[in-house]
Symmetry: C2
Subunit: 301 residues, 2 copies
């Protein structure tokens, strides 16, 4: 079944201690839609300015993304994020943000998109995530990704959104912040009370946690000896996850979600091995399957 990914399509300028890379293809929807495309037909809804390089659109096309919902504002400027990573690659700081065309963007879905069964509301403002759901007709499974920024500036919108989604994805610090609870398993129980039947907690190199009606799943992360650029890893994770989920023809939601998380985390591991989408867009389905098999062995006891 197919996947609809709505989120930001951006230019990322990324500085690490070793290198500076200007105007890479970035944004939550770019990473997530490419990741999803390894497993399922994927529609990308976003907005770009007249300055958006044609080679970036060509990359979308290489992944056979359905781009009918990719809006282009010819005289507008693309969303542009600049950030810098510290030596250990875990801490990053934003150097500059130009909202450009996303500032007043309200996504309009092409008519035939409203019945897409799997919907990923990639990281963006919860108000915009609401407008997407307003245009959908009974999707089978909706995942929302979010971040601390929205808890700080748009908490009411986010809380309202939680009643409308099947699954929320966030990191452990954000989970603690959302329900003001330090213990993660207890925080998970509190988040379920806000709406989502499934909650997934991203913990970077420490893996992730799925919490659902049947309890917890503790997922390992693929161990990387070298992290080149972690930007977009979380988006790749959730994109790979929903793509894998949409591709399953049998099995319970629970067991499919477990394997979907493993596949998402493997795509995220490739994402970290290159700047922007450099590595992800060169990965093959066979390489992904190879790392999934490796993870199975690494976690067996």
């Amino acid at each position: 079944m197919s996947v609809l990914v709505v989120g930001t399509t951006a230019l990322d300028s990324i500085k690490t201690p070793k290198v500076e890379n200007p105007r890479l293809l970035g944004g939550s929807a770019s990473h997530a839609a490419v990741a999803s495309s390894f497993f399922a037909p994927t529609k990308l809804v976003g907005v770009i300015g007249g300055d958006f390089p044609a080679k970036h659109v060509a990359l979308y096309k290489k992944h056979k993304l359905d781009l009918k919902g990719l809006e282009k504002v010819k005289d507008g400027q693309s969303f542009h994020w600049s950030g810098e990573y510290e030596v250990n690659m875990n801490n990053r700081r934003t150097l500059n943000t130009v909202l450009g065309v996303i500032e007043h963007w309200s996504p309009k879905l092409p008519g035939d998109y409203e019945t897409t069964p799997y919907v990923l509301l990639a990281n963006m403002s919860p108000a915009v995530q609401h407008t997407v759901l307003d245009q959908m007709s009974k999707p089978k499974f909706v995942i929302a990704d979010t971040m601390d920024l929205w808890m700080n500036i748009a908490l009411a919108d986010l809380l309202r959104l939680l009643k409308r989604v099947d699954c929320l994805v966030l990191n452990d610090g954000e989970a603690r912040q959302l329900v003001e609870e330090d213990n993660v398993p207890t925080a998970l129980a509190k988040i379920h009370k806000l709406g989502p039947r499934y909650v997934i907690i991203k913990k970077g190199e420490h893996g992730s946690l799925l919490s659902g009606p049947k309890g917890l799943f503790i997922a390992p992360a693929y161990p990387l000896k070298k992290v080149v650029d972690p930007t977009g890893a979380g988006d790749s994770f959730v994109g790979g996850l929903i793509g894998y989920l949409a591709a399953q023809k049998s099995g319970s939601v629970e067991s499919n979600l477990r394997r979907a998380i493993i596949h998402g985390s493997v795509v995220a591991s490739f994402c970290c091995e290159g700047f922007g989408l450099h590595r992800t867009t060169k990965v093959t389905r066979a390489e992904i399957a190879g790392r999934v098999r490796e993870l199975e062995k690494l976690a067996k006891f």
Copy 2:
């Protein structure tokens, strides 16, 4: 087969945001030997002062620890550590340390101890860990636990020790510090070059990593909804681990170590649920087996 545990036997006074508990049974050897005793006959070597409560020794006896090597200095003061935990129970600070009888202690092993096949050098100064190995005759498997303190004040001794042990246990921050490398998988490779064939990295709630000749094992931690007192969790982990390992009659070192880590982490989870050894000493073998089965389900994909 039997296990020899050498380390500190202490009184711990522990303050948490909710409660203050003075003069609990503590110390690396106390936690580790009790944890080991669930699986294998265990000898405890340590030193106590005349002030050491008889009820603490009674607890050792309840666990059938062989105490021939527990030295008592009648006119000496027991090692006494006082510490305080912050609200989230992850950060602790030492309020006071009285070394007492451990300051000039040099363990003398009872004659029949030298052939004990499994040796755990629980957390204590590497110089003292050396004196234990000097008295052993070709042990089958030696595990050393350590901490950042020894890297700061006794690095040369520690580096010399690494050439004499089969397995080193430390946390992720300590692993990074030991080889000055931020990436954990890369740090592991560098630690192997210092000597130990197996390295285990403790990551608390995030589980642990085993690195050995056959590669990595990523182990989950048992998820706890409430942490009462994490003091001794690391010691319980490594104690349960070596006890389980010593009890295996078949299987490869590699696969036994994987399951030993799971059992150690389950004992550590019980340790966190009470002050000092309160919870650990009330646990049954059946409760441990129950949590191991739960962890198997929590980690399956």
